[in-house]
């Protein structure tokens, strides 16, 4: 007993703090306040990070701390190796070069879109261990539980001499990553586009920041949420019309999150025209948890949208947002303030509906964007594409999905999936078995990487019609309802005409004519904008599309 007390007395409770002080003292001679000269970047990384450390590298599907990632691949792998990398999105080639060089060994991530093929290869070659593949919010949540970082590498637009940061319109993940380190004696290293005398606003206070370095060029940002209206097809317009009538109008959906596909871009562009002709303005689609989609401009300009909270910004939208502070969340300086975690939270708990396109769906309505040979991860879709059982407030749409009278049972969030029955190249989108099953097995995952579980899906919309899955009784009826709208795919061929007629009679499925949608009306002349130029005109020249979307 006495022995144990002695042990307790001699134990240090400040090991993390002491270790941080030790590392910071070594780089202090190179620094002026929090500012480190760019030329010492690699030395500083070799000093501030220690082999085996858990580090977070900021990089999501939009902005990337690319100066820091480009610097990290240049460290001496003999000095610095076997890092445990935590990263939202494996997007840049150098993220994986870290593993090829042995600088990093283990990774926890949420998404690997552009690099998904290489992730699979490195995994097979034994160069990379995967901790787990997450959704965005659960990865951030773990930064405060069992994945607390030693060092975080993040980016900001500007810093001042004291180390205060302006993260600007693309604030995104920076606050949550910094918080996990700054308040648990981790080291916060920030690349900034420029160091200025006075910041437009302070997004992160200097006392949370340890090292600031001016990058060689502005951090990389992808315009991921821009959809050129030129590429919206008549079929997507038909689907959009069905969603507006058969879902938004029917259930009075007022707050929502849209995916980034062309289906939802079509819906956004149908609101001011088709939606207006139905007299729905002010009744549906008022609040969005959504990035500033350029295709939302016409709906905003014509008075449909009351508020938009965003995960991140979108390239080219800054001036437009600045001129519409009633709609967007902006700082005192006038520019957008985005926050991925808070927007994900809003998308989970505060909206009536999530709607997104998917690539593949099985007969039970499980869906996945995983395709053979690629380990793409989940991103944020599952965070919003599920019915959060922790929700307690009610809205008309949430209550409208309640299929029983029992006051002890909750309402339900709308989780809507859209897909064409056949994908590009004549491949059926409805399949017997998802590609994800095989991919999951190969990658040694304990469960299949399903993006959105069928049990969470309330509606499926195809060019054939809508399946109101939430209305189905039992798994068999659910399968029949899905088959009824699955066209001539392997799943759809199981539909029987008399069963489909009965489901249609009961309103479990609906074809366009059942909800007052005329197929022949579905053409591009219905779109409020048919080109990028139209979007610019709607914005009165405030929206400046990036070069890759310009055709003038």
């Amino acid at each position: 007993m006495a022995q144990q007390t002695l042990e307790q007395i001699s134990r240090s409770w400040t090991t993390r703090r002491d270790e941080k002080r030790r590392r910071m003292q070594q780089v202090q001679p190179w620094m002026e306040g929090p500012i480190l000269p760019r030329t010492k970047m690699i030395d500083a990384l070799e000093t501030l990070i220690v082999s085996g450390d858990r580090i977070v590298l900021e990089g999501d599907n939009q902005k990337q701390a690319d100066f820091l990632s480009r610097s990290l691949v240049k460290v001496d792998a003999k000095k610095l190796h076997d890092l445990h990398l935590i990263i939202s999105s494996i997007s840049r080639p150098e993220h994986l070069t870290l593993f090829e060089l042995g600088i990093a060994k283990k990774v926890d991530f949420a998404f690997a879109g552009p690099q998904s093929l290489r992730v699979s290869q490195l995994l097979e070659d034994g160069k990379l261990d995967i901790g787990a593949i997450h959704t965005y919010v659960e990865l951030y949540a773990r930064l405060f539980v069992d994945l607390v970082p030693n060092v975080v590498l993040v980016c900001a637009e500007q810093a001042d001499a004291e180390g205060n940061l302006y993260t600007g319109p693309n604030t995104e993940d920076t606050p949550v990553i910094i918080e996990a380190a700054a308040f648990h004696d981790g080291i916060v290293i920030v690349q900034v586009n420029e160091i200025v005398d006075k910041l437009p606003r302070v997004d992160i206070p200097a006392s949370w920041v340890d090292v600031v370095v001016e990058a060689d060029r502005p951090f990389a940002v992808e315009p991921l949420f821009t959809r050129d209206p030129r590429h919206i097809t008549d079929l997507q317009i038909l689907t959009g019309m069905m969603v507006i009538r058969g879902i938004y109008e029917k259930h009075q959906v007022q707050s929502l999150n849209h995916g980034i596909g062309f289906d939802t871009a079509a819906i956004e562009l149908l609101l001011p025209t088709y939606g207006e002709s139905l007299g729905l303005r002010g009744k549906i689609c008022k609040h969005f948890a959504l990035n500033p989609h350029p295709t939302l401009i016409p709906a905003i300009e014509s008075g449909w949208v009351e508020s938009v909270h965003s995960f991140g910004s979108e390239v080219g939208m800054d001036d437009y947002i600045r001129a519409r502070p009633d709609i967007f969340f902006t700082g005192r300086d006038g520019s957008l303030r985005s926050n991925r975690v808070l927007c994900q939270l809003a998308g989970q708990y505060a909206v009536d509906a999530f709607i997104g396109a998917t690539l593949q769906m099985d007969g039970d309505a499980n869906s996945s964007t995983v395709t053979t040979g690629r380990l793409a991860g989940f991103g944020g879709a599952p965070n919003m594409g599920h019915d959060p059982h922790g929700r307690r407030h009610s809205t008309p749409a949430w209550l409208d999905l309640k299929t029983n009278e029992d006051p002890n049972l909750p309402g339900r969030k709308l989780v809507v999936q859209t897909l064409e029955t056949f994908a590009k190249g004549g491949e059926p989108a409805f399949v017997e078995t998802l590609d994800a099953v095989e991919v999951g097995k190969k990658a040694g995952m304990p469960i299949t990487p399903i993006m959105i579980y069928g049990s969470d899906v309330s509606h499926v919309v195809t060019e054939e019609g809508i399946a109101y899955l939430y209305k189905t009784e039992g798994i068999e009826e659910r399968r029949r309802a899905l088959a009824a709208v699955a066209g001539v795919s392997p799943v759809g061929l199981k539909a029987k005409a008399h069963e489909t007629a009965e489901l249609r009679r009961r309103g479990v499925i609906a074809f366009p004519e059942d909800i007052g949608v005329r197929r022949l009306q579905a053409n591009r002349s219905l779109l409020a904008a048919r080109s990028m130029e139209d979007l610019v005109a709607w914005s009165d020249g405030l929206y400046q599309p990036p070069a890759k979307f310009r055709s003038w």
């Binding site: 030129r230 001011p272 025209t273 207006e276 002709s277 007299g279 016409p298 300009e301 014509s302 008075g303 591009r524 002349s525 409020a528 904008a529 048919r530 080109s531 130029e533 139209d534 005109a537 709607w538 070069a547 890759k548 979307f549 310009r550 055709s551 003038w552």
Partner: protein, 289 residues
């Protein structure tokens, strides 16, 4: 519930780019005056495409419409950019040549007939290479014959643009109308990149492509005549005004000395940028209208 309250006028305009080749051609004519010649129901298809596993189209992607524009006789020949990139094959080339020759014949016998070429085309159809090349030669010689009697007006609206052999047809036209989204060039961006490397031309750099091939630049340089909005009514009005204007005093393609001198005067010791070229050529007097 009046839509006019919230929808700006430009949304309600009839976009020309949105129309297919046939609807584009039809939109130019006085109402009730036009008919299609050798239409899809005549089923004159490319015999070469099926041999190469490609489904042919019953009009071979070339639409010929005869009628009246602003009261004057005219023929419109449109290439459908959505079919095989608007390419010129044996059948489509023959349709175009025949239509131009008939217009010349009518013009020579006292019924001046203007031609409007709607060119959304990558040029010669690779699957019918030699026949396509021959067709381009015939087309150009037919344009040269017709343009002495009546104007030949080219419209390039987008989004395919006008490249390859058909850019030569545009070059010998009396007038060329473009939108900002349209492109005009001999070699397409991908071809230049493939042949001369990415340092010469980066075909993924859209800003660069439009700065060089785009409608604004081509009109600004004087290699095309009018920049119009993507609006069917405005494009039709531009066509009517050129038909009224008739044959130009001197065709651009006859001004060989002017262009030789201009090219000779360029300072090639440094990279010439599009804006400079536009300034130098666009402002010079004479030549380009």
């Amino acid at each position: 519930m009046s839509q006019t309250n919230i929808i700006p006028d430009f949304v309600m305009r009839r976009s020309f780019i949105e129309l297919n080749g046939r609807a584009r051609a039809q939109s130019l004519f006085d109402e009730g005056t036009w008919k299609e010649l050798v239409g899809p129901f005549d089923r004159i298809e490319s015999p070469w495409l099926p041999m190469q596993g490609i489904a042919p189209q019953s009009d071979d992607g070339c639409i010929v419409i005869k009628g009246k524009i602003g009261g004057s006789a005219a023929v419109a020949i449109a290439f459908e950019g959505a079919f095989q990139g608007g390419s010129v094959g044996e059948v489509s080339g023959a349709k175009m040549t025949a239509a131009l020759d008939l217009a010349t014949k009518d013009s020579e016998s006292g019924r001046p007939t203007a031609a409007v070429l709607l060119l959304e085309t990558g040029g010669v159809r690779l699957q019918e290479a030699n026949l396509g090349l021959a067709a381009v030669a015939e087309v150009i010689s037919s344009i040269l014959a017709l343009r002495q009697h009546a104007p030949v007006i080219t419209i390039i609206a987008g989004t395919v643009g006008c490249f390859g052999g058909m850019s030569l047809a545009a070059g010998v036209s009396s007038y060329t109308i473009m939108t900002r989204e349209a492109r005009l060039g001999l070699n397409g961006p991908e071809v230049i990149e493939q042949e001369s490397g990415i340092d010469e031309f980066d075909a993924s750099d859209r800003a660069l492509i439009w700065a060089i091939h785009g409608g604004e630049q081509r009109v600004g340089m004087g290699l095309a005549d009018t920049l119009v909005e993507d609006d069917s009514e405005k494009i039709a009005a531009a066509v009517r005004s050129y038909i009224r204007a008739g044959v130009p005093i001197e065709h651009r393609s006859r001004q060989v000395k002017l262009y030789r001198d201009r090219i000779a005067a360029l300072d090639t010791s440094q990279q010439i940028d599009p804006a400079t070229l536009r300034h130098q050529w666009g402002n010079s007097t004479g030549g380009a209208r």
